[in-house]
Amino acid sequence: MDAKILIAQRVAQELKDGDLVNLGIGLPTLVAQFLPAGMRAFFQSENGLIGMQALAEKAAAFEDLTDAGGTPASFIPGAAAFDSVTSFGFIRGGHLDVTVLGGLQVDEAGQLANWMVPGKMVPGMGGAMDLVSGAKRVIVAMTHTAKGEAKIIRKCTLPITSVRRVDLIVTDMAVIEPTAEGLVLKEVAPGTAIEDVMAATEANLIIAADIREMSLSA
C-alpha cells in the first residue's frame, strides 16, 4: 500500500463524530477521503471556511473558494465563511478538536519541527504555529524517515513549531504517542516488525504493553 494512503487511513480513525478538524496541505488533506462510513467531521480551512469538502467536479471550481493550498474546493450544506481573524480565533481559542499536520522532525519531548530548514527552505510557518499551540489534539502525519534519515529523533535540530507536546504521531511504520515519560510505540504497520521501527527511529521508544498491529478499518 502507498505510504501516504496508509497514514491517511490510520489518521482518519482518530476522528470522532462531530469533530472540527483542520487538515494541513499535502498528505493530511488525504485524511478526509477515509472517514468511516456514517461519520461526520467538519473540516476547517484556515483561509476562512468551516464545512469544506473536496471539489466533486472540476467544472464547479470557483475562484473565491479554495482550500489553504489554493486548490479549488467546495462546501457542505451548513458551511460558514469568515475572515482570517475569526479563523484563528477558532484555532487559538480551543474550538478546533483536531489538527493534522505534516512534520520534518518530532523529538522525545513530543515537540514538532515542520516549518523551516535554515539556509535551505524557509517557507514560513503559515498557520502551523497557531494550529499546534491551539488545537485540542495535534496529530503529526508523516513518513517515518526522509531519504533514509530518521525524523523521530532525540531532540529537534530544526526550529520547533511550538513548545507544546503533540498528541500522536502516525507514520507509514508506526503509531507513536508522545507522553510525559517519552515516546510510546503503540502500533506497528502491517508487516513491520518492532525492530524495523526501532532501527528507523533515532529517539528512544517505550514499547507499549499492549502494542498491536495498525488496524486500517474502523
Partner: protein, 217 residues
C-alpha cells in the same frame, strides 16, 4: 457621496516607499487590478504586509517579480521561490509572522489595542527579542500592532459609500486590513447604489473606505 475613482487615480495616491497592506490568500481575494496597476505605474520600495506572496506571476507575486518590494511582513512564502530567492539574497527584508498572530497584529493596529498577548510562538524563534508576559501562571508573547499607509482591499460587492461585502474564502485578510490602513482603497467586482447593501450585510463599514475602484473603470 460617491467614493468611486479610476484605477489609475487611486493607485497614483500611493508613493514609492509606502507601507501597503494587501488582502488575499494565495491570490484568492487579492485586489488583482490594483496590484497590476502598482506594477504598471512602476512603484518601488514598497513595504508589503500580506498573508503570503502567492506564486510568481500571480497576485502579490507580481509585485515581487516587478522588484517593487523591499520589505515584507508575511506568514508564508513557501509557494513563491522568487520571494525566497530575494530574501536569501537580502534584496527583500522578510519578517515571518504566524498567520493568526499576523491577523491579530493588524486587528490591534486597526482597533487601537496596544498589542497582542498570544500563546503562539512562545519558546520558538518567533519569540526572540520580544517581551513575554505571565498571566495566571501561563507565559504569553507580546506582539506589536501593525498599521500601514495604505490598505488595498478586494470585495465582491460595494456600495458607492464604501460599504463592502465579501465572498467565501476571498474574505480572508480583507476585512481586518480595511480597519488598519491610513488610506483604504477597495476594488469591488460589483458596485451598487447606497442603500442596496442592507445594514446587516455590510461587512466592512463604508466610513473606513476612502476610495473605490470598480471592476471596469
Amino acid at each position: 457621496m460617491s467614493k468611486l475613482t479610476t484605477l489609475a487615480a487611486a493607485v497614483e495616491k500611493i508613493p514609492d516607499g509606502a507601507s501597503v497592506m494587501i488582502g488575499g490568500f494565495m491570490g484568492g481575494g487579492s485586489p488583482h487590478r490594483l496590484i497590476a496597476e502598482l506594477v504598471r505605474q512602476g512603484k518601488k520600495n514598497l513595504a508589503i504586509i500580506a498573508n503570503d506572496t502567492a506564486r510568481p506571476g500571480i497576485g502579490i507575486g507580481r509585485l515581487i517579480d516587478a522588484n517593487a518590494v523591499v520589505k515584507l511582513v508575511t506568514s508564508h512564502i513557501g509557494l513563491n521561490p522568487e520571494t525566497q530567492k530575494r530574501m536569501i539574497a537580502e534584496e527583500i527584508e522578510v519578517e515571518l509572522v504566524p498567520q493568526g498572530t499576523l491577523a491579530e497584529r493588524i486587528r490591534a493596529g486597526g482597533t487601537g489595542l496596544g498589542g497582542v498577548i498570544t500563546p503562539t510562538g512562545v519558546g520558538t524563534v518567533v519569540a526572540e527579542g520580544k517581551p513575554t508576559i505571565e498571566i495566571d501562571g501561563e507565559t504569553f508573547l507580546v506582539e506589536k500592532p501593525l498599521k500601514a499607509d495604505f490598505a488595498l482591499i478586494h470585495a465582491v460587492r460595494a456600495d458607492l459609500f464604501g460599504n463592502l461585502q465579501y465572498q467565501l474564502t476571498a474574505r480572508n485578510f480583507n476585512p481586518v486590513m480595511a480597519m488598519a490602513g491610513e488610506t483604504v482603497i477597495a476594488e469591488a467586482d460589483i458596485v451598487v447604489p447606497v442603500g442596496m447593501i442592507p445594514p446587516d450585510h455590510a461587512e466592512t463599514v463604508g466610513v473606513v473606505v476612502d476610495f473605490l475602484v470598480a471592476r471596469k473603470g
